[in-house]
Symmetry: C2
């Protein structure tokens, strides 16, 4: 049987309160007593029982991450796990444990209610993919600190945090203009793909600023995959005036785009620049290697961890907004940036 605080107290010849105080510090205890207690703990190989401690302290030092995982989670969405890794890092640093629960959006409200009522965790990080109005409604007056990762697409009271995809789009456009490209096209995901939409929004806002007009037939929407990227690019190539650079909403689309350009004998980056977002492994091994706007999702995870930790300290902290900064990673699919701007 594992030693309890009582055993330690007996061996050290003190009360259990004293032992507890020694363990938890910040109480006035004589050095002599401290030493005695430490000795006794060593002797008995004592470690506080966390279950008892959690109960007594009314806390678990644990934060729950709620999202949808499912098969192929790691392959199809490396972001999700970058976030988790970042979260874990921020929490682990402060002695908190990350709990992970995969849940379907429709099951989320019930489960979340359970979490909140049962005090299963000290804080909850909810991925935007499982939120719904019902969930929002449910949580509103609950006591456990919680934040949402990703911008909800309806007005909600959530304290959320997201990547600034619009900013990423702005950076993409700015960068290409500075490289000397003059006419940009955009190849994006479906209408419902908010990420793609935000990126486009950023691109357009910069172009407007510079009075660059993008004809509608240089703006394409389709699936977020390679084939769709190929087709959309071909459509663009059929138009009567060509852009000199294409912004692809993601890596897969970019791959299709590059293939289409190659097939048409268009040189990258001389005749046409290609730029995309995110930095999946194959953007580094493609020929040419892709210049990307790199979204640091790991950092977003870290920020999310810090934010929830903050909320746990000050529960009344309201609707906070945080964004991680995109970064250009220059590779071979765009011309070198020249001084002219």
């Amino acid at each position: 049987m594992a030693a309890t605080i009582r055993d330690v107290a007996n061996l050290a010849g003190t009360s259990i309160a004293t032992v507890s105080k020694v363990i938890n510090g910040s109480y006035s205890i004589s050095q002599k007593t401290i030493d005695k207690v430490h000795w006794a703990m060593e002797e008995l190989n004592y470690h506080p029982n966390l279950r008892a401690r959690n109960f007594a302290r009314q806390s678990t030092r644990q934060v729950l991450f709620l999202t949808t995982l499912g098969e192929n989670a790691g392959f199809s969405n490396p972001h999700m796990f970058e976030i988790m890794a970042g979260l874990e890092r921020a929490l682990g640093n402060k002695g908190y444990l990350l709990g992970v629960k995969s849940i379907l959006p429709e099951e989320a409200p019930d489960f979340v209610k359970e979490v909140f009522e049962s005090k299963m965790a000290d804080g909850v990080v909810i991925h935007a993919s499982i939120i719904s109005r019902k969930l929002d409604e449910m949580i509103r007056y609950k006591e456990i600190p919680h934040i949402v990762l990703g911008l909800p697409d309806f007005a909600s009271h959530f304290c959320w945090l997201d990547i600034d995809n619009k900013l990423a789009g702005e950076m993409a456009a700015n960068y290409l203009l500075q490289c000397g490209y003059q006419s940009l096209a955009f190849v994006g995901g479906t209408d419902e793909d908010k990420i793609s939409a935000h990126r486009l929004e950023g691109v357009l806002s910069v172009l407007k600023e510079y009075d660059v007009i993008v004809p509608r037939y240089h703006l394409k929407y389709g699936e977020s995959d390679c084939d769709s990227g190929f087709q959309m690019t071909e459509q663009i190539l059929e138009s009567h005036n060509l852009p000199d650079a294409i912004i692809c909403a993601n890596n897969y689309i970019a791959y299709g785009c590059v293939n289409a350009l190659k097939e048409h004998g268009i040189r990258i980056p001389e005749d046409m620049g290609v730029l995309t977002f995110d930095d999946y492994p194959f953007s580094r091994i493609l020929k040419p290697k892709l210049t990307v706007i790199n979204i640091d999702v790991y950092d977003m995870g870290i920020q999310a961890g810090k934010l929830i930790l903050n909320k746990m300290k000050k529960p009344n902290l309201q609707i906070q907004f945080y964004c991680t900064l995109p970064l250009v990673t220059e590779r071979e699919s765009t011309r070198k940036q020249n001084g002219g701007h």
Copy 2:
């Protein structure tokens, strides 16, 4: 303040013992009382306090997954997260929560000791990447059920579970022979890369069985990346008799391999078949699409979850060995399988 079991008992006009029994079932309670209690729980929106329950039950219904995460975890190693997703699924199914803790190999023994002594979890799944002799030594006589994911490279008492990479190698060789290929080459990772080594071992064992001799210069070892795959393939192409199929130890190497073959004008799969292991997204979008031996790591995670759950039930369950079955996913980089074998 949240309602406690006492409040429910008062409202229902019963004792707290009765309420507890109703909640936990499998006690003889009259339907009338059950209804009363349920009504009271509804009325008060009562949910058992898990911290108290964990304490009373001496269990947390939580399993801890220990591994090294770090930045780029999701991008560089989708496997890790497929495993986690599988684990979560198996555990979640049974009402257990998955805790995730990232830890460096050198910190592992201390932390693991802490986990075990403090009863932080009911079970622990340890990824092979953090195990060491010291850790093995430390854990030996501890009480918390634990398993290791991945084959330790030293004799240990661990209960472990791993992918059968040798079998995967055998399947690769068998498959290619059945496709009509006659002379195989292998392009692998470094010497220390046990996964690559096991896969090669499997390949060779099959070839031996069929009395196919592989000249040493058709066996290459290098880094596990694209460039290395390219170089190793070129080396093979320089040899005086060419193989008619190449097995690549992983997707990255395979990509380099395909590039080298293309550059030399060698047709895939007619002149040369290419087969690799794992199924990263880009193996599906490459030209040609790669035939792969698909390792179902998600399933491994599920199996691991089941195993640790088992161990928790029967702690004396000893050294168990489990392997997930690799599967051939036929694509375009190998000839169609013909009847002849």
